[in-house]
């Protein structure tokens, strides 16, 4: 019996920009600085990226007198379809986790973005086979009953 530990969320959004523009924003330090900051914070985050497979990034978010570093490594860079990177943030207690950003062209030059954030224990391969949906369904059911 396989019991991979799974913590996962998925968010989706249709963006009014081409997949290329959306994809590049995820690797460009200036763009990252603009969108990886708390809404209440006027200052951009400080981002440094080495956008190649095996390359790393550091995004330091500012807020309320504190700095919140987020680091990770690029696992897959397939412009403009898919970007996979590890995500480590001490402040979020998420431990080691993996973020996948998938882009699909939508009508009118728009882009459907799907972001999946999966937390896995160290040394365990990401093999979640939709297990997280089952978990979320269950949680939904229990919490609503």
């Amino acid at each position: 019996m396989t019991t991979a530990t799974i913590q996962a969320v998925r968010v989706q959004r249709t963006l009014n920009a081409t997949p290329e523009r959306v994809f590049d924003a995820w690797l460009d330090p200036e763009a990252l600085g603009r969108f990886m900051r708390p809404g209440s914070e006027k200052r951009s985050a400080d981002a440094v990226t080495d956008p190649r497979v095996g390359g790393r990034f550091i995004i330091t978010m500012l807020g309320e007198g504190n700095v919140y570093p987020h680091t990770g490594e690029y696992l897959e860079i397939d412009r403009p379809h898919k970007l996979v990177f590890t995500w480590y943030s001490k402040a979020t207690a998420m431990g080691k986790s993996t973020v996948t950003v998938e882009l699909k062209p939508a009508a009118g030059g728009k882009t459907d973005l799907t972001l999946t954030h999966v937390g896995l224990p160290e040394n365990e391969m990401a093999n979640h086979n939709g297990g997280w949906t089952a978990i979320m369904d269950l949680l939904d059911g229990v919490l609503r009953s």
Partner: protein, 128 residues
């Protein structure tokens, strides 16, 4: 309650809050939830307290196997076992499920806000 009041809480307050959640406990919860038989058990327990026999009954597994599954759920803090006469009654404990859901809610909330700002970055003229 997951989600409640999130809109009025600053992002970094949420971060600080998240540190309070014990990752190991969440791992145990998600580990316990990763098995189909155990999820079915929990689903049925969300309606009422059941005996081990009643829990095993609809599943294609032995009473001993069912008992093992219940032990895993117990260790994750998802169920409570109470002896009543000759039988054990199993009751759902909802709090760990709420905590697990809260991790998901907060993480989703984090990315939703980032995507709001990505949208603004891509379309600066149509700021809300």
């Amino acid at each position: 309650m997951p989600g409640k009041g999130l809109a009025h809480t600053s992002q970094f307050h949420i971060f600080n809050h998240m540190v309070e959640y014990q990752t190991s406990r969440l791992d145990a919860v998600y580990g316990a939830l990763s098995d189909g038989h155990r999820r079915k058990m929990l689903q049925r327990l969300s309606r009422r307290t059941l005996t081990i026999g009643e829990l095993a009954d609809p599943l294609p597994i032995s009473l001993a196997a069912a008992s093992k599954h219940i032990q895993i759920l117990e260790r994750a803090g998802l169920v409570r076992r109470e002896k009543s006469g000759r039988e054990y009654h199993i009751t759902l404990v909802e709090k760990p499920l709420h905590d697990a859901a809260e991790w998901a809610t907060r993480t989703a909330e984090f990315w939703e806000r980032r995507l709001d700002q990505l949208e603004e970055y891509l379309n600066p003229d149509t700021k809300r």
